[in-house]
Symmetry: C2
Subunit: 219 residues, 2 copies
Amino acid sequence: MKKYLEILKKCPLFDGIEDSNLLKMLVCLGAKTDFYDKKYTVLSEATPAKYIGVVLSGSVQVIQIDYYGNRSILSGLGAGEVFAEAFACAEIGSMPVSVIANEPCEIMMIDSSHILHTCQNNCGFHQRLIYNLMKDLATKTIMFHQRIEVTSKRTTRDKLLTYLMLQAKKAGSNSFDIPFDRQELADYLEVERSGLSSEIGKLRREGILESEKKHFILY
Amino acid sequence: MKKYLEILKKCPLFDGIEDSNLLKMLVCLGAKTDFYDKKYTVLSEATPAKYIGVVLSGSVQVIQIDYYGNRSILSGLGAGEVFAEAFACAEIGSMPVSVIANEPCEIMMIDSSHILHTCQNNCGFHQRLIYNLMKDLATKTIMFHQRIEVTSKRTTRDKLLTYLMLQAKKAGSNSFDIPFDRQELADYLEVERSGLSSEIGKLRREGILESEKKHFILY
DNA sequence: AAAAGTCTGTTGAATTTTCAACATAAGGAG
DNA sequence: CTCCTTATGTTGAAAATTCAACAGACTTTT
């Protein structure tokens, strides 16, 4: 676990907790880590929502698949980011989404009951963890607002441009990489891949953007 | 404030706090209440995100309006429900959405810094409030997941049926009321009102549902 | 009671998306 | 290096949505 200390320090769940205490605390919380290969299901829909996950290396995607087989990508998460915390904290019983490895990755899982229900005198960091969870969930809520701002647009073109402008703003530059390939971007924007590709082509011909795989430049 | 005690007791923000302490605590937090007429803007986009709101009576809607003037309804909230907590807790500076009164209502506002930053020794309930905020935000996150489950459907018909089935499940009956009129439902589902109306007509003729204004029966 | 305004449903034309199929390029496995 | 798989772009027809306009039912106002 020690080798991931730098990642853990950046994880919002452990904000304000000193290095010297962090590893001890993880032992106290019974944190377990595992490796997953690309495409492996880390947490699957309808299984108990007990664990809070932290990406130590690689990346995962939170997805939902409906009865027609259409995939929605709810979010893509990289090293230091937290997932499934909302389901564990809300204590809703079972997972309404699946989490899959987007590339080979190492994941740390913490049983949420150790954070939510253990007597708070056992370990002085529970209060801070709850505060951090609250901050993290507030941030996630805002991410969902942004996602809705994107997907509420009615045309593929507007969805794409709204998304790209947000990414450019986030990157602080009109030249940036996105974390999705074309099919994934289509599933995030909730449009057809073919329509998305053709819209990118149009925007390119109109001189509004340039793109090379996952790299985009907006003009 | 006393007259709203029953409402406040149901508010997730005040879970686990005894009646006798609740009113004292609200004074300590500097909670203020105001009346708003229908359509009045309670909190407007781009203003500072300082306050956590609680609906005491009536109802409000959280909305977002884009540069084309298209309205998206992010959520509708009734008595006892909390709003704007995510923006205040994430300390993002300014509101990315507006909150408007859906009918005449009374609203309680709490300056979030009194919860997040006041020394926790001042008032023994801060820890509990933070825990409650965390739970509330986890629940909100799950609501957004449901909303995405609905709006990720590609056709008006599928969006509508997915929404109605969730409402029926929530009501525990195939006969239930929805909190939206037609235009609002269209703005929530992110479809055209006219297309929505015609789809409801089709479903009625097919014998899949009956509807009378805001009341629906699913078969 | 009449007038004005709001809500809902309907329609048809224009626009856009979806769907299915194929072509090419790029990358990985053997 | 070649084969196989995956990712991306393109196309055209079918399907669905959007848009604008209007009519009827209901409410609210005066």
